[in-house]
Symmetry: C2
Subunit: 260 residues, 2 copies
DNA sequence: CGATGAGTTGATCCTCTTCAAGGCTCGTGG
DNA sequence: CCACGAGCCTTGAAGAGGATCAACTCATCG
């Protein structure tokens, strides 16, 4: 038997604060080198596509499995994660969401969410009307292609995770995960500022398919080797190159990507 | 340590037999209840989009990791699977491909394949020109949306697999996999004909993240309970409902899907 | 025919789970 | 102010699920 413990905390509920609204033209993410440029027409469509913004606290459920939200989101700032749970509480984290990532695309395209999304840190999301997605595909085929591109990118990350959980050892898995998250954080400029990945060892355990105890011991090994540093509720990556080497991971080969 | 054995056989290479060509209008898959109807305009575009057909033997590599194929495929008949391997030969099967599934979309959209695809049985594929994908998005936004839909569907299946490999026990995993494959086969009419899923226990092991020995013992338990029957190089599912119950799996909730 | 691949089974070992306990920090309330 | 509980991290000990090693059967095939 494996980790039947009810992982995950009692969660807060969504707290839609419609605060200040950043115009897409001034989006702080857009200048980042990770994202491709858009035509003025595309940009203005996206700007109109966005209806509002919401801010959520760490631990808030942004989308719940089984719901069919009327919205599609883009994470503007903060960290979140996608997960599924079995009946008895076993939780599997599927992937992490960082600024620039679409949230809830599966639900928007197919109809109903089959996983949940929870904020890992305080986060801000751009809100889009799901039913205007058709319009996006019809009037801006380039953006339609971009949405497919982003879906393929997610698929690619899941392929990597599956390889990891299925075939890597505990140490390799942990090294892979932290190298992966570090890489993604750096790509969107989060690495520079804080250098901290905001998660608990329970999150790591539920991502790697390990028990919390073994996760702890495994992370300790990485820390003892000087590759990471663990600081209550967050992790600092000290040697991403060596982590990737331990994991036998090539890196994501990330290219310029679209931002919707 | 876990299964470092070099799993996977010496593989045949792609053998493009440009045999008879089925017109898309007469596609044998189209009448199946699993697939949605298309407008005449869409159908005629798809028909022109298709350049040829190829037939491959079981064990042929259809797409190799690292390559950037000029083609995108749809599986017309037969079974295939997507997989990745680590440097030392550990292999992880990511998902299975059945008739109607797109093959190589990731590569077509992002550029380079980061996984391989191998035929599990003799198979026939429809060949599309990758560089005409833009045209599809521009001239037939509905089809563009469909491509995104299919990408989301793949993502959803991967989510399920990840939950399985990460958090289910060996018995649950095996039960889930066979219920899943059975369900998919039935949906495209393969279940009726043969009722056999064409794979070896090594494939099952590489899908579930288990060793071949333990996979064998686990499958035996399912067989002893009368849920499946194993017959060299293939498996017959006897009780899909009970399998799903053992796995704690709800089923895919598959809806009408597009066929490109 | 040997050879090769697939499936099977038992014995042994070890990675990882489970159980248990204790420390640390922080927020809350007396 | 301190007491208290709740998370979170940590560590040791015991047990089990699954890996590894080894051997054997049974088909298929040149």
């Amino acid at each position: 038997m494996r980790s039947f413990q009810a992982s995950g905390n009692p969660v807060n509920f969504l707290l839609p604060i419609s605060g200040r609204r950043v115009a897409c033209e001034n989006c702080p993410l857009r200048p980042l080198s990770a994202f491709r440029d858009f035509s003025p027409a595309e940009l203005s469509f996206i700007s109109g596509f966005k209806t509002s913004e919401i801010s959520v606290d760490a631990g808030s459920v942004i989308l719940a499995e089984g719901s069919s939200s009327a919205h599609l989101y883009t994470l503007l700032s903060g960290w979140a994660f996608r997960f599924k749970v079995l009946d008895d509480g076993r939780r599997q984290i599927l992937n992490y969401l960082l600024p620039g990532d679409l949230v809830g695309l599966q639900g928007s395209v197919i109809g109903e969410m089959d996983h949940s999304v929870e904020a890992l840190s305080p986060a801000v999301l751009c809100v889009f009307q799901r039913d205007r997605l058709d319009e996006l595909f019809c009037n801006h085929p380039g953006l339609g292609f971009d949405v497919t591109w982003l879906a393929s990118r997610e698929e690619r990350m899941l392929d990597d995770h599956l390889l990891s959980v299925g075939r890597r050892t505990a140490l390799e898995r942990a090294a892979y995960l932290l190298a992966f998250l570090h890489e993604r954080a750096v790509a969107v400029g989060l690495g520079q500022f804080s250098g901290f990945i905001p998660l608990t060892q329970q999150h790591v355990a539920d991502t790697l398919g390990l028990s919390i105890v073994h996760t702890n011991k495994t992370l300790r090994k990485l820390a003892n080797r000087g590759l990471i540093e663990w600081l209550g509720r967050s992790c600092r990556v000290l040697d991403p190159v060596e982590l990737a080497r331990v994991a036998g991971w090539d890196g994501p080969g990330e290219r310029l990507r679209p931002l919707i």
